[in-house]
């Protein structure tokens, strides 16, 4: 085991990342403890004690990950990647259904969500590819990277676990950015994702968000018109591509670029409408105006925002959150853990959580620019993408400015898989940090 040993240069370890992770985990256990009592003060859940077990075992995982010199083991990442894909495939067909998705494997009460670990393994493998393919064209790297990300995404989507699948995109974008892929392509992906969401939402926006008889609704009620307009977009793309190939003018390139984004988004949004149920799409957009469906999809947001708002500047005190303990908020200990923190600890507490995550993410970026090799740098950036997206979506969802996608807040949300994968990722980061000045 040449490449499995605790780093000799423990002094180079990025202690701030370690300490921030431990602090956040402690906050998590306390919040889960609080989420486990109802308004009578009666404890109905012992999730917090399980979380402690997972945190302690997570530390062991972290130390093991730290001991791995991953940049020397990068050639083995393909095996890990294939293994995790097989695991996802197995989960898809033989896994346990939790909250409507076949996403768990395990024994008895204990189980793991392979999707959580798939993220990290995919980061390692994609880093390996981007590291080795620097001489290839940006376009080829874009396509191959998209495929590497695409396979696990499709497997996870088929569970179906929409939230976990989404996390792969920020990972892809950040790693391509750091991996030096042409900015136009990165912009292409960003805009495509944006437009896909837009097109996914427009029909429902017409139906629910605006008064009856609005033009959007009238348009989407008529599939023939929708089909015709979409057809026009495809003709426009064909014409601009033809113009670009014939005239070689940059003007035509940008036209093709724009129409490719639009047409791709139309196709993806169309597929989205086929695959997703209407209420699932509503969950994604209801944050824009929760009052259109206050008893349904908007309920969580209204309750979460009310809980947070009522916390005020100083909060209601530990275990004193009235909204949270009346159990108005579902998934109190996982998806909406931030609302219980902000209700009980107020603005001060919320600010501290944001600050802790900010420091953690900022340190990760610091690490990205100080690694000894390109591979480690790419791994750090992928992990940064993963953590920042989870933070952004989960907290954003609780404060009502992000769609409800049901992804956990790393370190804080209840759940063994997410905690373990967070510690695994941090272990890799610490390992990289401790080896960064030595070859």
């Amino acid at each position: 085991m040449r490449h499995f040993q605790l780093p000799k240069f423990i002094s180079d370890l990025d202690y701030s990342i370690l300490i921030l992770s431990l602090l956040l985990s402690a906050v998590g256990v306390a919040s889960i403890y609080s989420a486990g009592i109802d308004s009578d003060g009666v404890r109905f859940s012992n999730e917090y004690s399980k979380q402690i077990i997972w945190a302690v075992s997570g530390l062991v995982i972290m130390i093991a990950a730290m001991a791995l010199d991953i940049s020397r083991l990068k050639d083995y990442t393909l095996f890990a990647y294939v293994a995790v894909l097989l695991l996802l495939l197995y989960t898809r067909f033989a896994g346990r259904v939790v909250n409507g998705a076949r996403s768990w494997i395990g024994i008895g009460e204990y189980g793991i969500q392979p999707a959580e670990f798939a993220k990290i393994i995919t980061v390692l493998f994609l880093a390996r590819y981007l590291d080795a393919s620097e001489q290839s064209s940006s376009f080829k790297r874009l396509v191959v990277s998209s495929i590497i990300i695409g396979i696990p995404v499709l497997l996870i989507l088929s569970q179906p676990d929409f939230g976990s699948a989404l996390v792969f995109f920020p990972i892809l974008i950040v790693m391509m950015l750091v991996g030096g892929i042409d900015r136009r392509y990165i912009l292409f992906i960003l805009l495509s994702i944006g437009c896909t969401f837009l097109f996914l939402m427009l029909p429902l926006a017409g139906k629910y968000f605006f008064p009856d008889g609005n033009i959007l609704d009238l348009f989407f009620q008529r599939p023939r018109y929708v089909f015709m307009v979409s057809g026009l977009f495809f003709i426009a793309l064909a014409l601009s591509l033809w113009g670009w190939l014939v005239f070689k003018k940059e003007y035509y390139f940008w036209l093709s670029y724009a129409f490719s984004i639009l047409d791709l988004s139309i196709l993806l949004a169309y597929a989205g409408h086929k695959v997703l149920k209407e209420y699932q799409i509503m969950r994604l957009m209801v944050f824009l105006n929760p009052n259109v469906d206050p008893q349904g999809a908007g309920w969580n947001i209204i309750q979460s925002v009310t809980a947070i708002g009522s916390g005020g500047f100083a909060g209601k005190g530990f275990l004193q959150g009235t909204q949270s303990h009346a159990r108005f908020i579902p998934q109190q200990s996982t998806d909406f853990i931030f609302s219980i923190i902000a209700e009980e600890w107020g603005f001060i507490g919320g600010l501290i959580i944001i600050a802790l995550f900010f420091l953690l993410l900022y340190r990760m970026l610091g690490l990205v620019s100080s690694t000894k090799d390109k591979y480690s740098m790419l791994v750090c950036s992928g992990i940064f993408g993963m953590f920042s997206f989870h933070f952004m979506i989960n907290v954003g969802m609780a404060i009502g400015i992000m769609p409800i996608t049901g992804i956990p807040l790393y370190f804080i949300s209840y759940g063994g898989s997410s905690l373990w994968s967070a510690f695994l990722a941090v272990g890799f980061l610490l390992g990289i940090s401790s080896r960064r000045y030595r070859m």
């Binding site: 109802d38 308004s39 009578d40 003060g41 950040v174 950015l177 750091v178 030096g180 008893q295 309750q303 925002v305 009310t306 809980a307 947070i308 708002g309 009522s310 916390g311 005020g312 500047f313 004193q320 009235t322 909204q323 009346a326 108005f328 902000a342 107020g346 603005f347 919320g350 600010l351 944001i354 600050a355 995550f357 900010f358 993410l361 900022y362 970026l365 990205v368 620019s369 690694t371 000894k372 090799d373 390109k374 740098m377 950036s381 940064f384 920042s388 933070f391 952004m392 907290v395 954003g396 404060i399 009502g400 400015i401």
Partner: protein, 618 residues
């Protein structure tokens, strides 16, 4: 490593991005909590009481004619307090007034709402049985009762169901473990669920869908003007129409009297159960009363086990009723000619011990198959079972009749009975199966165990030429409100045996001979109907007491749809009266004359109270 300028810019972009996100989120948090904090606090107080659950009424339960109710619901109100909405200055005053109106003690309210609860937004019930009048008084002066709510809560009412308690079962508050199992199926922690019997088996059908009243009210508990109420009406549970015939059930209940045991009356051509009695029974209403815990413990610790439904949850040696299975096997396998005779001297020497027939020396004399069944000659079945059939064939035919398997009746907790096998004996006793075991099995003794419902199925199979329908207690499911038919239970075949019809025909003749000239000639005296059947007297090691079985059907050789199967099982714990055939006789008399139990008893000359006999009779 060295970075190109481009890469530095890219990382800088990421840094800017994360700073931006954190600033934005901090600003949003500041806006929500500091700038608009007071607004949300007020809103939070309103939301805390926003939705009120209106419990749905459980489905009612009726007899097979859908005219006699067995279980309905009563209207009752619970009065609840949300302590946090009750201002401290008015707390004492409100408690005092409530105590007066509800005629409960002030200290009871104070005990239910101790100071540590004063900040809670949870509703706490101070009374669960308030009258309509009391509620009107509170409602008229709602502003005097901030934080006080009421709720109509239908409670279960069992209407003199007597011996149907085991069939119907009872309800109770959902237990912690039940809740864990059921919470994905739309149950909530304060639900009432069926605990046993049909109440449990059909819980999903009987349980309605709770409704909600969502109102927006201010902190004082007053409805805010202009804010609409949203009512989601509760959907009552579905109604069950049972297969039980109330009159036959009553007769069966009286026929069994206060003897421990059970009686089943079954329609063989559908599997419908017309009556099912298990004694001792209990009153399910006690589970609704306020001291239900105590009463439950009493039932639980009663040595007579009143909670047990002996008709399906107890298994006994089937004794001589099992000779029906042997006769089937002998006829179908042609193991020995039905006309060949075996001589019974009242005893048999085998394996170093003496086996006594129930008629001691001089015994039954020379008997053929029919005479052996009619007079229940043990010697005949011992000999033929051991020498001509063998254990494997007996086991196989017992399996054909459904022994050793649950019948699939629609109440929970069924006992599957037991068929011993040589392999089982070897595994559990480390002893070889010997011919003596086969002899014991041949007369339904030894390790063999059967439930009364299995014995009833055996008779149904004889009537139906080899078909057993799943025995069931629910005939129809109807809409709780309109009474419209939703589902009508169809007869469901669970066994369709390949045994020939001629075997069953001969078997029926033989079973008829049990009554026409055999062992049950005296007790089964009814002239109203031609009964065929088999007695059984099970040895359980007591000197002068035995389990008494009688399994019968009638009218003999009528069409299956006109027949009924009656199985009576009286445990050996009772004084020996050989009661099972007498009880069955009474039931047949009552069913086929329409007389009630007392009249029927008089016309067959039976004393319902007791019938003393000495010594074993069969």
């Amino acid at each position: 490593m060295a970075f190109s300028g481009d890469n530095k810019t890219r990382i800088f972009v990421l840094k800017l991005f994360i700073i931006g996100v954190c600033l934005l989120y901090t600003a949003r948090l500041f806006s929500l909590q500091v700038i608009r904090g007071a607004e949300f606090e007020a809103k939070a107080n309103r939301y805390a009481i926003q939705s009120v659950k209106i419990p749905a009424a459980r489905g009612e339960i009726y007899d097979r004619t859908n005219s006699i109710p067995f279980v309905t619901n009563d209207e009752a109100f619970s009065v609840e307090i949300v302590p946090a909405e009750l201002p401290a200055s008015r707390r004492e005053e409100v408690f005092q007034k409530l105590a007066e109106i509800l005629s409960i003690r002030l200290t009871d309210i104070q005990r239910k709402i101790p100071p540590s609860y004063y900040h809670l937004y949870q509703r706490i019930a101070v009374s669960t049985s308030a009258s309509y009048l009391a509620i009107t008084k509170i409602a008229e002066h709602k502003e005097d009762f901030p934080g006080v709510y009421w709720n109509s809560r239908p409670i279960r009412r069992y209407l003199n169901i007597g011996s149907l308690s085991h069939v119907i079962g009872y309800v109770g508050e959902i237990g912690r473990d039940e809740y864990k199992l059921l919470f994905n199926k739309g149950y909530s922690s304060d639900d009432v669920i069926g605990k046993t019997g049909l109440e449990k088996f059909y819980d999903g059908t009987l349980k309605g869908q709770d409704g909600y009243l969502r109102t927006t009210v201010d902190v004082k508990g007053k409805n805010l003007a202009g804010e609409a109420e949203r009512l989601e009406a509760p959907v009552p549970g579905k109604k069950l129409v049972l297969t039980i015939d109330a009159a036959i059930q009553k007769t069966a209940e009286k026929a069994l009297g206060n003897r421990m045991g059970s009686i089943i009356v079954l329609k063989p051509d559908t599997g419908e159960i017309l009556a099912m009695v298990s004694y001792p029974w209990y009153d399910p209403s006690i589970f609704i009363s306020s001291n239900s815990g105590e009463e439950y413990l009493k039932l639980l610790n009663d040595p007579n086990k009143p909670l047990l439904n002996r008709a399906v949850q107890s298994s006994y040696p089937p004794a001589s009723t099992f000779k029906t299975v042997l006769s089937t096997a002998i006829l179908e396998e042609k193991a020995i000619s039905p006309k060949s005779t075996i001589t019974c001297n009242g005893f048999l020497e085998y394996g170093g011990r003496t086996w006594n027939c129930w008629v001691h020396s001089p015994g039954h004399g020379s008997v053929d198959l029919q005479e052996a069944l009619a007079n229940s000659c043990d010697i005949y079945y011992w000999t033929v079972g051991r020498d001509n059939l063998g254990v494997e064939k007996i086991i196989s035919y017992a399996g054909d009749y459904g022994y050793g398997r649950a019948t699939g009746i629609d109440i929970p907790g069924e006992n599957a009975g037991f068929i011993p096998t040589p392999r089982w004996k070897e595994e559990s006793y480390r002893e070889r199966w010997n011919p003596g075991d086969t002899m014991n099995l041949s007369i339904g003794q030894g390790y063999m165990l059967a439930t009364p419902i299995q014995v009833a199925n055996m008779m149904a199979m004889v009537v139906n030429d080899g078909v057993i329908y799943r025995p069931h207690l629910v005939k129809e499911i109807r809409d709780g409100e309109s009474g419209a038919l939703i589902q009508s239970m169809r007869p469901e075949i669970v066994t369709d045996s390949s045994i020939s019809a001629s075997t069953f025909k001969t078997l029926r003749e033989d079973l008829r001979s049990v009554i026409s000239y055999g062992s049950a000639r005296v007790p089964v005296s009814t002239k109203a109907v031609m009964v065929a059947g088999k007695t059984g007297t099970a040895e359980i090691g007591l000197k002068d007491r035995w389990h008494s079985w009688f399994a019968a059907f009638g009218p003999y050789e009528a069409k299956p749809e006109d027949q009924v199967v009656v199985v009576a099982m009286v445990e050996a714990s009772n004084l020996w009266e050989w009661w099972a055939p007498y009880a069955s006789n009474l039931i047949f008399q009552s069913i086929f004359t329409g007389q009630d139990a007392e009249t029927a008893a008089k016309s067959i000359g039976l004393n319902l109270k007791e019938q003393h006999l000495r010594g074993r009779a069969e």
